[in-house]
């Protein structure tokens, strides 16, 4: 065994070039595969660590809208939650969790230093939450906490931040939204990274119920916020169906009265991370099909690396035929020979796996470009990674070593001894062609996908939005009675800053993730329109600040309440009104509100991302729902201006946490997923091309050495360098062309599917295929051509003499 490995290493050192190509190619493939494995493993195992994971579910709401579409909401109406708790008997535990913007303040120092914005990660939760999910308790008793108003449990990092060390936290008081005192009852360890419950502050649900008006408790059946979650622990995991049957009956009468078709369902915990139609508390979901594609591409890249190995090994067989013949005449059996060649393979693959793990380690930062994994994603500390590496070594050794080993061991000894074997007579030449073909097909498909993804990203960058986000900075404000009085001061002080052009308050930015919508009627006394309208509340400076355009009428005038309306072109078109001028002066109303006049028609702008159609939109003024400040700035010195904005904010709202962002960064978040996909394609098409070319390089050089004599003779007979090069290159080029023909339609279908997610999208241009083809043909030509020319210009006398 040891001697076999030593022999194998000696053989590999003797053929350094092929060994290098093999190890480097396999290592690259293994590295890519390993990176994706870590990603997929991480994503696949979200929240599976909870002891009762298979019995945990969330109650969701499914609504059928008038046009027949299904809308899913991760929350449910508050009265429905009460009814469910009282009527469905299959739940062992029932926990309301409300995630809502909050701010907590505590600790020492100036008010500004003590503030902590826990907006993203603070929830109101019922005590039972901790009996459904497993949290590691550092302090406090899980059975006792969160039972009364004014209590809170903190996660370790926030307790450390507020009190220096979590050990000091219990018994301390902190302030919720600068008003309500909360006593710290316990500290839990931070949620592990593979959890969708990255919660740092658990305020008792009783706190929320104790001051319903302050926290916006909504007792209506008609509203259902995606923030009002209910998690349940079923008594028996087989009860899902029975529980859902009971759930389906809840609130049916009430919903009919509010004119909506809603039904409640259970979403198993195992679905939470993979269902992008429903929010989670941490807001990070990923489709299983995406994970499948990632895994598939990882495996394909690894397969490509194996193909290289097989190709080179079978091509090298010729050089080893004599050895096989002699060993057989000395009594070596097929088994011996297979073992010998396999140990060479295992040595190569093991080296490659080690190198690959190193590559993967070095390339880990790139994972962030293609996914939402945390920085400290475990690597070698994860036993699954070791198992994976081991499986890869075994699998790759078997897949790539076995075939060449069998080919060699099968040799007829005399033919082998006489060196009468050539690449042709061994067979396998068609296999080799097939494998090269497969490699180039994969590479080609990836290149096409990359080009299409890039051209869509470019399309999105140049998409006519109908508004101008580039120079706008947004600051979030709170229309709370304590602060709303300072809005005007804030606006005036901002306007006086150098570099600020205009300032506007509104409920939302023009193109946004959020939608706020409802029924409306158009034309005094008419019934509700058969479709809803989105709405935004905006002040008189909105159009100027965001660069919106009017096509008829005028903008809204200054008003703190709803007085008049501006609608968009889409709304009119859907109503059948073709001349915007006709709409001016007509009356409209939202829900059962007052009738108000339409004073203007806005040119259409993209109301959300390019994934969605522009919505019918109505805009009104109403100060009490202005959540966001838009500030248009002058291009130079924007960073300085933003600093000034921050200062003004903190002086105006001393106990509010500053929360600001460039608007175009916000818009970039629309396409985070697509950007990741595009980076992924870029990375992996490069990889695919690299691996294919390594294989070609090896094959071409082998072919060139094996044909040295033939080339020498041909040259003596008068063949030109170009002629000989052409002879060698022709075969490979043919393969690349066939690969283009196979890959193009596949990539086309795949990318059409990808693009179908967009309402606004680029067509797939024919030149994409041409460009991709030229690219891979070019690279192949370079690789093979280099070797071929070298062979072709070699001195013929030398090559003949050496024979």
């Amino acid at each position: 065994m040891i001697t076999q490995v030593a022999l194998a290493i000696r053989h590999l050192r003797k053929h350094k070039f092929y060994t290098f190509i093999n190890i480097f190619g396999l290592a690259t493939g293994i590295a890519a595969c390993l990176l994706l494995f870590r990603l997929v493993y991480f994503e696949m195992r979200f929240d599976m660590f909870h002891k009762n994971a298979d019995r945990i579910a969330r109650i969701i709401t499914e609504e059928r809208d008038p046009s027949g579409g299904l809308n899913l909401t991760s929350g449910s109406a508050l009265p429905a939650q009460d009814m469910i708790q009282n009527t469905v008997s299959h739940f062992e535990q029932f926990a309301r969790v409300r995630s809502n913007g909050m701010q907590v303040t505590a600790g020492q120092g100036t008010p500004l230093e003590r503030k902590l914005n826990a907006e993203e990660t603070a929830v109101y939760a019922e005590s039972s939450f901790f009996r459904i999910f497993d949290w590691k308790w550092l302090a406090g008793n899980p059975d006792e906490v969160l039972k009364t108003p004014g209590t809170v449990v903190l996660a370790r990092n926030i307790a450390d931040k507020l009190y220096g060390s979590w050990a000091n936290a219990v018994g301390k008081t902190l302030l919720l939204d600068n008003k309500t005192p909360l006593i710290v009852q316990g500290v839990v360890e931070n949620a592990p990274p593979n959890s969708d419950f990255q919660i740092e502050v658990f305020v008792s649900y009783e706190t929320f119920k104790a001051d319903k008006s302050l926290f916006g408790y909504n007792p209506n059946w008609g509203s259902s916020s995606s923030n009002d979650h209910v998690y349940v622990l079923l008594k028996n995991k087989l009860d899902f169906g029975a529980a859902e049957a009971l759930l389906a009956r809840v609130g049916q009468e009430e919903y009919r009265n509010t004119n909506s078709k809603k039904i409640h369902k259970l979403q198993p915990l195992s679905d939470l991370h993979f269902n992008s139609d429903l929010d989670t508390i941490s807001d990070h979901t990923i489709n299983k099909s995406r994970l499948f594609i990632l895994s598939l591409i990882g495996l394909l890249v690894l397969a490509m690396a194996c193909f290289n190995f097989i190709n080179l090994a079978t091509a090298m067989v010729v050089n080893r035929s004599k050895e096989v013949g002699v060993r057989k005449s000395l009594g070596g059996q097929r088994g011996h020979l297979i073992r010998q060649f396999m140990s060479e393979t295992v040595v190569i693959v093991t080296f490659a796996a080690i190198t690959g793990a190193l590559f993967a380690y070095l390339l880990s930062p790139l994972l962030k470009k293609i996914s939402a994994v945390p920085d400290d994603l475990p690597f070698l500390s994860n036993p699954a990674v070791w198992v994976f590496l081991l499986v890869v070594i075994v699998l790759v050794s078997v897949l790539s070593g076995l075939y060449p080993a069998f080919v060699m061991a099968r040799f007829d000894p005399v033919a082998a001894l006489k060196n009468n074997l050539n690449t042709r007579s061994i067979g396998g030449i068609s296999l080799r062609k097939l494998l090269v073909l497969a490699q180039f097909t994969i590479a080609q498909a990836l290149i096409i996908s990359t080009l299409v993804a890039l051209s869509q990203m470019n399309f999105l960058r140049n998409l006519e939005l109908g508004y101008q986000p580039e120079l706008v900075y947004n600051v979030w404000v709170s229309p709370d009675s304590a602060y709303i009085g300072k809005y005007e001061t804030f606006k005036q002080r901002l306007k006086q800053l150098p570099g600020v052009e205009s300032v506007s308050f509104s409920s939302d930015v023009p193109g946004s993730f959020n939608t706020w919508s409802g029924n409306f009627a158009f034309g005094l006394g008419s019934d509700d329109a058969p479709f809803g309208t989105s709405f935004k509340f905006i002040d008189e400076d909105y159009f100027e600040t965001y660069g919106l355009k009017l096509v008829a009428g005028r903008e809204l005038t200054q008003s703190d309440t709803v007085r008049e309306a501006v609608v968009n072109e889409t709304l009119l078109k859907r109503l059948g009104i073709n001349n915007p001028q006709e709409a001016i002066g007509k009356e409209m109303r939202i829900g059962r509100d007052n009738w108000i006049p339409v004073v203007g028609v806005a040119a259409d702008f993209k109301t959300s991302s390019a994934h969605e159609e522009t919505q019918p939109m109505s805009m009104f003024s109403r100060k009490s729902t202005y959540f966001v400040t838009g500030i248009r700035m002058d291009p130079p010195s924007m960073t300085k201006t933003v600093e000034n904005i921050k200062t003004v904010f903190e002086e105006t709202f001393p106990d509010q946490v500053f929360d600001g962002q460039y608007y175009d960064e916000y818009i970039a978040e629309f396409y985070e997923d697509e950007n990741r996909f595009s980076s992924f394609c870029q990375g992996f098409s490069l990889l695919a091309i690299l691996i294919s070319c390594l294989g070609l390089l090896g094959l071409a050089s082998l072919m060139a050495t094996q044909k040295t004599k033939e080339i020498g003779v041909r040259k003596v007979l008068g063949a030109s360098v170009a002629g000989i090069t052409g002879l060698l290159v022709k075969d490979f080029l043919k393969l690349v062309l066939v690969a283009i023909v196979i890959a193009s339609p596949l990539a086309y279908l795949f990318m059409e599917d990808w693009l179908s997610d967009f309402v606004y999208r680029t067509p797939i241009h024919w030149w994409v295929f041409l460009l991709a083809g030229l690219l891979s043909a070019g690279v192949a030509l370079l690789t093979v051509g280099f070797q071929s020319v070298r062979a072709a210009i070699a001195d013929p006398v030398k090559s003949l003499r050496s024979e």
Binding site: L7, R10, H11, K14, K322, E323, G325, V326, R327, K328, S329, L330, G331, G332, Q333, R334, H336, P413, V414, L417
Partner: protein, 221 residues
């Protein structure tokens, strides 16, 4: 021990057939020392390969130790190579990746000879053929004659009962050639080893007790 009956070996090249061996019938008894002679291209090596079961006749019957060779499977043949036959190739055919020492060791490994005994046998062979100093060199670092010596040593080291040698002394100086022939003769006389050698030299042929003459693929009476 070896019975050949109407052995024929031909190559087809396109539509034309060339016979390399034809109507070869011979019997070789255990303990014989046979020399095969004939001009270049007459089929000597081919015959030796067939005798050694490295090549198969296209027609005719060949019995090895009384059993028809075509019924042997791979394992049976490998066993015979390990236990019974030693080969000396015309073109030496040492394994390029292995040192002289390892080339000698290879057949013993297949034969599963224990490590200690391997060592002493190899030392013995190196000594006998005067190549102790070369034991760690690779074949490409040896002269043609030295390679031939290693090839012979490798054939003898497994203590075979049948030695098939294809011009074993073709590259050796005549003094060395005599020494090799002496060794062969000694093995043949004292240990009863059956030897079949191909040779061009009348002198070497005289060491044996029988000569088979090949011409154009046929045995001459």
């Amino acid at each position: 021990m070896l019975e050949l009956k109407d052995i024929e070996r031909c190559y087809t090249n396109g539509s034309s057939k060339t016979y390399v061996l034809r109507y070869v019938t011979a019997n070789i008894q255990e303990g014989e020392f046979v020399s095969i002679m004939g001009p270049s291209g007459s089929g000597k090596s081919t015959l030796l390969h067939i005798l050694g079961m490295l090549d198969a006749p296209t027609a005719g019957a060949y019995n090895f130790l009384g059993e028809p060779v075509h019924t042997f499977n791979e394992r049976k043949r490998a066993e015979l190579y390990q236990q019974y036959i030693g080969f000396v190739f015309q073109a030496y055919h040492l394994i390029d990746d292995l040192t002289v020492y390892e080339n000698l060791e290879a057949p013993l490994m297949y034969k599963k000879v224990p490590a200690q005994e391997r060592k002493s046998r190899i030392a013995d062979m190196l000594d006998r053929f005067n190549i102790v100093a070369k034991k760690d060199l690779f074949p490409e670092q040896l002269s043609g004659g030295q390679q031939q010596l290693v090839g012979i040593a490798r054939a003898l080291i497994g203590r075979p009962k049948l030695i098939l040698a294809d011009e074993p002394t073709g590259n050796l100086q005549s003094q060395q050639a005599h020494e090799i022939m002496d060794i062969f003769q000694k093995l043949n006389r004292e240990d009863g080893v059956t030897i079949i050698q191909v040779t061009h030299s009348e002198e070497n042929a005289r060491y044996g007790n029988r000569i088979l003459n090949l011409k154009d693929g046929q045995l001459q009476a």
